[in-house]
C-alpha cells in the first residue's frame, strides 16, 4: 500500500555522501557515526538515506542522514559533512517494508516510480529510505519519494 502526504522531518541533521556496495551500507553508517562521535556529537539513534545512484547499479551512491542531539554544529570542511537545523521533505508518497528488506527494496523502488507515472505526478526528490522501530520493538523500513 502506498500512502500520500508523507513527510520526513527531523531537527539537527548531519549528512554526508557515501559510495558503497549495497550489502556494505552498515560500514558507511558506522564510518559516519564515528566521524560524528570523534567530533563530540551524539546521534539520537535514528538514521535515513537517499539513493542517488540507479537502483540496479552495483555500487550505490547515497546521502546518509543522522539526526544529532546538538543544535550547534561545526566541523572541518575536509570532513564534507552538511548540517541542517531543520530537515524537512513534505508531499511524499511512502510505502513500508516489514521483512526481507534486501529482496523487497528493488520491487518497492519500482512500485513507487510506477505509482508516480500512473497518476501523472512528477518526482521531485531521490528515493529516501528510513529505518524505523515500532513501540513493541519491531523494525521496519519506510521508502518514500517527494512528488509534485
Amino acid at each position: 500500500m502506498i500512502a500520500e502526504n508523507h513527510q520526513i522531518a527531523y531537527r539537527n541533521v548531519a549528512s554526508k555522501y557515501y559510495t558503497f556496495l549495497p550489502e556494505e551500507i552498515n560500514i558507511a553508517i558506522q564510518d559516519f557515526d564515528a566521524i560524528l562521535s570523534e567530533h563530540g556529537y551524539h546521534s539520537v539513534g535514528k538514521m535515513f538515506f537517499s539513493i542517488l545512484s540507479n537502483p540496479t547499479a552495483e555500487v550505490m551512491t547515497a546521502e546518509l542522514f543522522i539526526p544529532i542531539e546538538e543544535n550547534d554544529f561545526t566541523i572541518q570542511t575536509e570532513e564534507e559533512v552538511n548540517f541542517s537545523s531543520y530537515f524537512l521533505i513534505d508531499r511524499m508518497i511512502m510505502t513500508r517494508i516489514t521483512d526481507d528488506f534486501d529482496a523487497q527494496s528493488q520491487v518497492t523502488f519500482w512500485e513507487l516510480l510506477t505509482y508516480i507515472e500512473e497518476r501523472e505526478m512528477s518526482r521531485k526528490t531521490p528515493i529516501f529510505v528510513e529505518f524505523k522501530e515500532s513501540n513493541s520493538g519491531q523494525t521496519y523500513v519506510e521508502m518514500s519519494v517527494g512528488v509534485q
Binding site: D72, N82, F83, S84, S85, Y86, L88
Partner: protein
C-alpha cells in the same frame, strides 16, 4: 519549551531579498517553491526569513527569505534569487510559539520583553522559521543579540 539560546544553521540555501509591507510576508513562499522546480534541485527544509524594521519608512520592512536546498546550484544572472553555500546564526535568543497565533509581532514582543528584563541587547534583525502542522503554524523565532550579530 522555554526561552533559550540556540544556533540556526543550514548548508545550501536559496536567498531572496525584498522590501514589502509586513502583512505580505507570506507571498514570496510560493514564488520560491515554484522557482526551484525549474532548477533540478529540491527543498529539504522549511522556508525561513529575516525581518529588519525600517526606521525612516515604517510602511515597509526589509525581508530576506531563505529556502534550504539539497545542494549547490548555479543561477542565471537575471534571476531575483541568489545561492548561498551556508547560513549560520550563532546563539540567537530562541522562542517557540505554538498557539497558532499568526500575528508574528506577539512572538517578537515576548522575546523583546524577556531580553529587556535579562539585560540582553538584541540586534536589529530577527528570523522566523515556520512549521506547518495540521493546517496550523508553529513559529520558531530566533533573535541574534547585538554583539554576536548576524555572522552568516
Amino acid at each position: 519549551m522555554g526561552i533559550e539560546f540556540r544556533t540556526l544553521q543550514f548548508d545550501n540555501v536559496l536567498r531572496y531579498e525584498t522590501r514589502q509591507k509586513e502583512e505580505d510576508w507570506l507571498k514570496p513562499f510560493s514564488k520560491m517553491e515554484d522557482f526551484i522546480l525549474t532548477q533540478g534541485i529540491y527543498k529539504n527544509g522549511p522556508i525561513f526569513f529575516s525581518v529588519t524594521s525600517n526606521q525612516e519608512d515604517s510602511a515597509t520592512d526589509h525581508f530576506i527569505y531563505y529556502l534550504p536546498i539539497n545542494g549547490p546550484v548555479q543561477l542565471l544572472e537575471e534571476t531575483d534569487f541568489s545561492y548561498q553555500d551556508s547560513f549560520r546564526l550563532e546563539k540567537a535568543l530562541f522562542l517557540r510559539q505554538t498557539d497558532g497565533e499568526m500575528d508574528v509581532t506577539v512572538a517578537s514582543n515576548k522575546l523583546k520583553s524577556y531580553a529587556d528584563s535579562n539585560e540582553i541587547e538584541l540586534g536589529n534583525s530577527y528570523y522566523f522559521v515556520l512549521h506547518e502542522v495540521y493546517d496550523d503554524y508553529i513559529i520558531d523565532l530566533f533573535w541574534p543579540t547585538k554583539e554576536l550579530g548576524d555572522k552568516e
